[in-house]
Amino acid sequence: MERPLTSNIKPGQPAPDLAEYERSGGYEAVRKALRELTPAQLTGIVKDSNLRGRGGAGFPTGSKWSFVPMGETALRPKYLVANADEMEPGAFKDRVLLEGDPHQLIEGMILAAYAIQAEAAYIFLREEYKQAERTLRKAVAETYQAGYLGKNILGSSYRLELYVHVSAGRYICGEESGLLNALEGKRAIPRSRPPFPQTSGLWGKGTIVNNVETLCNVPHIVRNGAEWFRKLSLTGDGGTKLYGASGKVKRPGLWELPMGTPIREILEEHAGGMRDGVRFRALLPGGASTDFLTEEHLDVRMDFSSVEKAGSRLGTGTMIILDDKTCPVGMVHNLELFFARESCGWCTPCREGLPWTEKILREIEAGRGRTSDLDRLALHARLLGPGRTFCALAPGAMEPLQSALKYFREDFERHIREKRCPWS
């Protein structure tokens, strides 16, 4: 089985330096692109590959790039941003790519930047990823020295500057328009759209924000072709996918597998099944902001459309497992506490509704809930849903809540009836 994204990553060993990365075929794709491909051809290859964004929403990467104004009339400079904020609870896949193979990301960024003819690129890194920061800074310096960054890259007329920007610990900075405000040194509240960042992003110029894993796929697509990439997948969405599992499984971790690998295979073969003494109850397939799935969904394939059909989202592909010894109400309370804290406060439904939701759940968990609380929670799930808030944070927060009300109704009712948490 081919594992392009992780083939250079050896647990417990330092990331490959530039020379090692080049020995494994690294920067061949940049050579090829700068010598043989026009920006439009490069974008076309990525379109053909069916690469969909790995940041959670699954937007087709090639078509996203194609919205950036090109040619003489485009406002300059244009920007490319690698979104390495990764603050979604349960998600840790980008960290592994950043720490394990920084040149793969840098090469992907050079290619993406070339495709949209950007002059500058930023890696927007979350504050807590200290090791990733050290690894990246070293790799960026090496890349400049080798002439893959800076003026006249590989003797061409193309020029690109690349910087590492380290954030300061807020989840909303990962939302792409909040990220742009953060980079401009403003409070990181999201922006209204349209205009979309592709046409009016950083300082009003054309900007692409892509997830780390998305960008890491690009060198492989350019080197091996769109068809090769499509065939890595078991379904229609191209490529491999990094899948993770955390919670009470025997071997929590991260695995690169064909896109569309069934949940059961990830859970049982790779995560080793549940720890002794606990049983599987449910899972969040793609991080904190995705709907719960249960036993009946274990044969669902982990790709964008299959997980959506099952009523949830692929999200980040890093699953959080709920076991029978952990209280589902407590878990949902923990999730909403995170979202309430991380609300940027810009729009009223989210700023007011999330803390309210969190308080109701806290009361139920503490044995002070009332039956009418369940209706109030369901009402919030509706009023904070898609289309009613300024960004996707609040609707994301409602996904685990609404599905918990559906699958764990009896557990909520038991808390209220018995006036205590049955798990404590």
């Binding site: 400079p77 990764e86 603050m87 979604e88 609870p89 349960g90 998600a91 840790f92 980008d94 960290r95 979350r126 504050e127 807590e128 990823y129 200290k130 090791q131 910087y163 920007h165 380290v166 954030s167 300061a168 610990g169 807020r170 989840y171 953060a182 980079l183 401009e184 040194g185 403003k186 409070r187 990181a188 300082w203 993770g244 599992a245 955390s246 919670g247 009470k248 929590p252 971790g253 991260l254 969040l284 904190a288 890093t318 959080i320 497992i321 709920l322 076991d323 952990t326 407590g330 878990m331 923990n334 999730l335 506490l337 995170f338 804290r341 991380e342 940027c344």
Partner: protein, 154 residues
């Protein structure tokens, strides 16, 4: 007054951005690393340097949990209380630290050595429960060895 050393570091950083304001989070961090926290006076000095109003800069400073607008201890302990760590034993980590240090979240020990804070997911959920002390990540934590770990932070 910003020191010449601070200004040198700020200048190198600001070269990465087309506008000074973009470097404001970096600037706050650079100054905080030397001074421990961002007092109102410090905030004003940095704002002047960045050609921002103090209000604008405070709007950014107060947005971020690792920019401290109040005095904190010499070492910052941030316990991850997000979902995977919660499932894997956040409560035990918290009780162990709370028991040893005698402080709750948001508090600083009387000797000014440690401040205890909650943190959102640290991105190491496969090694839950996790926490950070200053820049060090401590993962797969079991509360058995609290004293040994804390002794590394005088």
């Amino acid at each position: 007054m910003l020191t010449p050393e601070e200004i040198r570091e700020l200048e190198a950083d600001l070269a990465h951005y087309p506008q000074k304001q973009s470097g404001c989070v970096d600037a706050l961090k650079i100054v905080q690393r030397r001074r421990g926290w961002i007092s109102d006076d410090t905030l004003r000095e940095v704002a002047v340097y960045l050609e921002m109003t103090p209000e604008e800069l405070d709007g950014v400073a107060t947005f971020y949990p690792v920019i401290f607008r109040r005095q904190v201890g010499r070492h910052i302990i941030r316990i991850c209380d997000s979902v995977s760590c919660w499932i894997m034993g956040y409560e035990k980590v918290y009780s162990a630290l709370n028991g040893t240090l005698g402080i709750r979240l948001g508090e600083t020990t009387a000797d000014g050595r440690f401040t205890l804070l909650p943190s959102a997911c640290l991105g190491v959920c496969e090694h839950a429960p996790a926490l950070m002390i200053d820049d060090d990540l401590i993962a797969d934590w079991n509360p058995g060895n609290v004293d040994g770990i804390l002794s590394r932070y005088p």
